[in-house]
Amino acid sequence: MIIAVSGKGGVGKTLVSSLLIKILAEKTQFDILAIDADPDSNLPEALGMEVKTTIGDIREKLGEIREELSPGQSWRSALEYEAMKALVEGDRFDLIAMGRPEGPGCYCAVNHVLREIIDTFAKNYDVVVIDTEAGLEHLSRRTTQDVDIMLIVTDCSKRGINTAKRIKELSEELDIKFKEVYIVINRAKEGLVEKIKEYAKSIGLEVIGIIPEDEIVAQYDLEGKPLIELPKDSKALKAVEEIYKKLDLEKKIEEEEDLMLYAGQRSHVTHAHVHGFAHRRVI
């Protein structure tokens, strides 16, 4: 299951991503991977994790890596090793940061291999949450495969809403396949919510959740405290819990597992396998 969260910078997509991860980590046994695909986001901070190396850093370093390799050695395996090193491993979820998009020069071959590496990573998890910038660059480059659920976060500003529209158009232009696309309204102001809902409807999107202004979030932001530690009575957390319920994520992920088990036809597969990766490769 791949969930992408997008939106204009500053509208609160990192809030939504990190709280979704928090809920998944606390309520389920699923293996979770967070991908930070927005170089300007602060997902690592929101999750209380520190990223030392990004995938972008590895790409930049490839020249050095290659010069050091002997003729028979493959830089593909070297990249795999470096990418694994870049993975930040937590108790309940892991995080990988994509870093900046590349500079000049050719990266066709490198990107192709990195894509394969990240895809292989992703297959080891039951659920992947991607915090992605509004340009959807990483999605268009197929850094990730098709996305199951896309949440577009907006605030009540005209610019936020326009970006939401742009993201929807972009995803169509780029031919990224989403099974479900929804709007999430953050820092909702009374009186404006109905207007945004109408607007969403006019561009063919459904509003799946409304997150009210939350003083605790503002306070955490100010103090630089990880959003993942928000207390149970936080209004924002409660609102994201509602979204989680509406999305029916737990059921959808389990159904996906069952489907894959069936496709894999591994009759002796145990429950442990379900939470491993084994059958997922078969498809």
């Binding site: 493959s74 070297a78 000049p104 490198v110 292989t120 078969v282």
Partner: protein, 459 residues
């Protein structure tokens, strides 16, 4: 294959398995410790089949969550085995280890990283099992391998000794691999990763010619095909060797004709003339013929100055890139300059007259010693005149060609009536979204233009 005695599953489907820290029992080698792997071919009587030795603690004696040194030593025997196969077999250790459920293996040689999962250890998996699996799969995959014994080392001092020994073997093996010749392999590789913007470009990858972007060597091609057999990198059967000096193979010609839609039908791997390799857009450097000095210059992507032609890399790249064949120009990878067949049809290094200083320093070891001072850089020559002067002063090998050229000219002047020069066919492919491919063909044409501007007509 029989794996009933192994407490976990074994199979190809576990290949992409990554053991996360949360599921991990122990970290082996990798960034937190050290280790290496090595495979050696041994005489039949020195290998005891399926014998597994563990020096140091096995999984069950390891402390959960800790990192340990880890070495894998595989010794194989079989009447038909040769030492040259060691590298090929050794790279399979990675694959075969990964077939074991709950065991992760990354990378190769002295930068391996392994992990074993809590789940596997609780099921009773031991290094003895991993060794048995390795031995059995090796025998199954390679009929020539008759016996396999495996040793694991987790004891720090012994591991250090082993790594030293392994490094010596790697070094010997590398010096052999560097000399791997096109003649010694059965297949080449092709890559069409760049076809989205260079529709007629195919990259031919052979032991003596890495891809133009420099990223894919023959070994890399082989690894890529194994990972993704239907991907953008594919095998090219060599076919017949049509010209050993120019590097023309019927198999490569055939693939180019197919993949370029018939635009490119002949390719010389080791020449900038007549049918040079097509140039994508990603090449690390351009080799360009300078008729005024009858030599070849090379400019690389990072060089911001101008070539003796008065134009920078970017302008030249725009002219020769896009998947076309341009007589006198070819996009190359820097590694190709270290090849023993580097532009051999044109005279190799003896024909190289100019390159940026930074590039020259990078490949200095590949340049024959007697030529190192004779190749000009931007510090010695900035235009054709100063280049000519420099070459003459240093008595560069091309200067000899000038004299011969003079003689030829004189001969030609004596009997000019029979001279016929066939002009090269220049073909330019243009592509714009929604317009489709446009092919412009000039045959036997002599055209001089400062600039050609093609404008779209008004609607």
């Amino acid at each position: 294959m029989a794996f009933e005695d192994i407490p976990v599953d074994v199979g190809l489907i576990y290949e992409g398995e990554r053991i996360r820290k949360a599921q991990m029992y122990a970290d082996l080698a990798g960034p937190k410790s050290f280790g290496a792997e090595l495979l050696r071919v041994k005489p039949m009587d020195e290998v005891e089949d399926e014998k597994v030795t563990v020096i140091g603690p096995d999984f069950k004696d390891m402390e959960q969550g800790k990192a340990y040194p880890f070495c894998i030593y595989v010794e194989v025997a079989g009447e038909k085995l040769e030492e040259d196969l060691e590298g090929v077999f050794e790279r399979r250790i990675h694959d075969f280890c990964n077939y074991v459920q709950g065991f992760m293996h990354l990378n190769s040689r002295d930068i391996i990283w392994c992990r074993v999962s809590k789940d596997a250890v609780s099921k009773g998996l031991s290094l003895h099992h991993v060794g048995k699996v390795l031995a059995r799969i090796f025998k199954q995959e390679y009929e020539a391998i008759k016996k396999v014994q495996v040793t694991f080392i987790t004891e720090p001092e012994k591991a250090k000794e082993f790594i030293e020994m392994a490094r010596e073997v790697y070094e010997k093996r590398d010096s052999r691999a560097r000399g791997l010749k096109d003649e010694e392999v059965d297949v080449f590789y092709g890559c069409v990763l760049c076809q989205s913007f260079a529709p007629t470009h195919v990259c031919a990858i052979t032991p003596s010619r890495p891809s133009s972007c420099g990223a894919i060597t023959w070994f890399e091609g082989r690894a890529a095909v194994k990972v993704d057999p239907k991907g953008p990198i594919f095998e090219i059967p060599k076919g017949e060797l049509l010209d050993p000096v120019k590097g023309e193979y019927s198999g490569i010609n055939k693939v180019f004709a197919e993949k370029s839609g018939g635009t490119v039908t002949r390719v010389f791997l080791h020449s900038v003339f007549e049918h040079p390799h097509t140039s994508c857009g990603c090449f690390e450097a351009i080799a360009f013929y300078i008729p005024e000095v009858d030599g070849i210059g090379i400019v690389h992507r990072d060089f911001r100055g101008v070539t003796p032609f008065g134009i920078p890399f970017s302008t030249m790249a725009g002219q020769v890139g896009g998947g076309v064949q341009t007589d006198g120009f070819v996009g190359i990878g820097v590694e190709y300059m270290r090849s023993s067949k580097f532009l051999q049809a044109d005279g190799g290094w003896k024909r190289i007259v100019w390159m940026p200083k930074a590039l020259k320093e990078r490949v200095l070891n590949a340049i024959p010693e007697e030529l190192r001072d004779k190749i000009a850089t931007e510090e010695d020559a900035t235009d054709l005149e100063s280049l000519k002067k420099f070459l003459e002063e240093k008595n560069h090998p091309v200067v000899e060609r000038w004299a011969k050229e003079e003689e030829k000219k004189e001969e030609a002047e004596e009997k000019p009536e029979e001279e016929y020069v066939e002009m090269p066919t220049v073909e330019a492919k243009a592509f714009a979204p929604g317009v489709g491919n446009i092919t412009i063909v000039f045959k036997n044409a002599k055209i001089y233009a400062e600039k050609i501007i093609i404008k779209r007509g008004s609607k």
